[in-house]
Symmetry: C2
Subunit: 260 residues, 2 copies
């Protein structure tokens, strides 16, 4: 896997001062990448600890209460809900630089489950400190609001995919969006391809489809020379043609179409 995994200790419980615990040089690592650098700066300043998780483990579960919020430092998380009979809806994926688990306060339960897709490390930030940050006022407020707003716009994209696009359109649009997010998160791979840890079941659960149907859909997209996907890699072979397949509305800010 191309996901950088910095350390493997499960949890450091020592209540050391933040500056001592969080000296990872995150700012250096992400220099120049504006929104992500700002999130990492918040993690650097306000986190009291960090935690490394193996793939497939829960960070928190729907219904739990906790005093913390998390910033993804490396790896992928998925946020999801599961209905009683096992149906699963993946609500979002959290890439490095994502803020996960914001709530109004420690007495508000998590409304979804967060589970790692790859080995992942997160910074742990007390909600109390965030509340303080907001009251006092700083550029961090704007960063946090922007992160939430981005998440909301992403959810709107997903709703449109799930509700009003065909399977082929939805998968095409999903791959375009993910490719862009992966690059923005600084995970760009060699050449055109990016590392892509999701299984077909993940894609299906994010788009309201079955893994079987995602498989069939990907087969046709591959056959048409639009994408290469598999073995943990994704390559958008023909972005314009794929955007065409995705039934992107003409005004779409992210994927402007050539004609009109």
């Amino acid at each position: 896997m191309a996901v950088i995994h910095l350390d493997t200790d499960v949890k450091r419980k020592s209540p050391a001062p933040a500056s001592a615990v969080m000296g990872f040089g995150l700012r250096r690592e992400a220099a120049g990448d504006e929104p992500r650098a700002q999130i990492f700066a918040i993690a650097d300043r306000y986190a009291i600890d960090r935690r490394s998780l193996a793939a497939g483990t829960e960070l928190f579960a729907e219904g739990e209460e906790s005093e913390f919020l998390y910033v993804v430092l490396s790896g992928w998380l998925m946020l999801h809900r599961i209905l009683e009979d096992g149906r699963r809806q993946i609500l979002d994926f959290a890439l490095p630089g994502a803020v996960v688990g914001y709530r109004a306060g420690p007495d508000a339960a998590f409304r979804f489950t967060a589970e790692t897709v790859t080995p992942t490390s997160v910074a742990i930030i007390p909600l109390k400190r965030i509340a303080g940050l907001l009251r006092e006022g700083s550029a961090a407020s704007l960063t946090l609001i922007s992160a939430l707003n981005d998440a909301l716009l992403g959810a709107f994209d997903s709703m449109t995919d799930i509700g009003r696009r065909t399977a082929r359109e939805a998968v095409a649009h999903f791959l375009l969006r993910m490719d862009r997010r992966i690059r923005r998160a600084g995970q760009a791979g060699a050449g055109h391809a990016v590392s892509f840890p999701l299984t077909q079941e993940h894609i299906g659960d994010a788009l309201g489809l079955t893994a079987v149907h995602v498989c069939r859909t990907l087969r046709t997209l591959r056959a048409d020379g639009l994408v290469t996907i598999g073995c943990g890699r994704l390559c958008i072979e023909d972005p314009e043609a794929l955007a065409e397949e995705a039934a992107v509305y003409s005004i779409d800010h992210d994927f402007p179409r050539l004609a009109s």
Copy 2:
């Protein structure tokens, strides 16, 4: 319609000071209703103008740029996207007390269209003032973040409805959610019923269904004695049974089921 419509002038362009324009006694009207009162307080303090719109008019359209953000004072808006061939996905409904159209700055285009469902009046707030508010820090930052977070959680609910619930489950869950939102927005009607301005097409476009199928689904829900809906009114006749039909996950914070 039970939606209170305070005035009908189309637009006051006079750049009068906020306090002069916004003396509507909103704080009095919403006293005791915490989150909504806080939003109205923000509108009271930061709005430069207000605007009243007839039903079925656009407040703003996807792709537009503007320096403003809006707070709904009365009436309903719908936020939606339309694909090139006319397919429409309704992303959210905005009830009184909702914040609509937040963006990082005036150069960021709207990513969806906002259109009135009923006659509506909104307070107009310059994005600049919001940015200032966040930098300076105040309780308003928390209010704004909470509003965004609530919108995100609502979008997650919708995604689960659209992606992983059957039409019957989705409609049941949607009606439960809307009933709760209407009451929280202070629009509770007489007795069990609430005023409900949405058409079956609105419901369908919010849930990724056709109006025809919503009609058939509502028929069975009515026949089973679960809801009364029509003529601009909605009445949840049997909340527990409807939650049962909605396949609400057992941990759901909003609609706890009786058993487990």
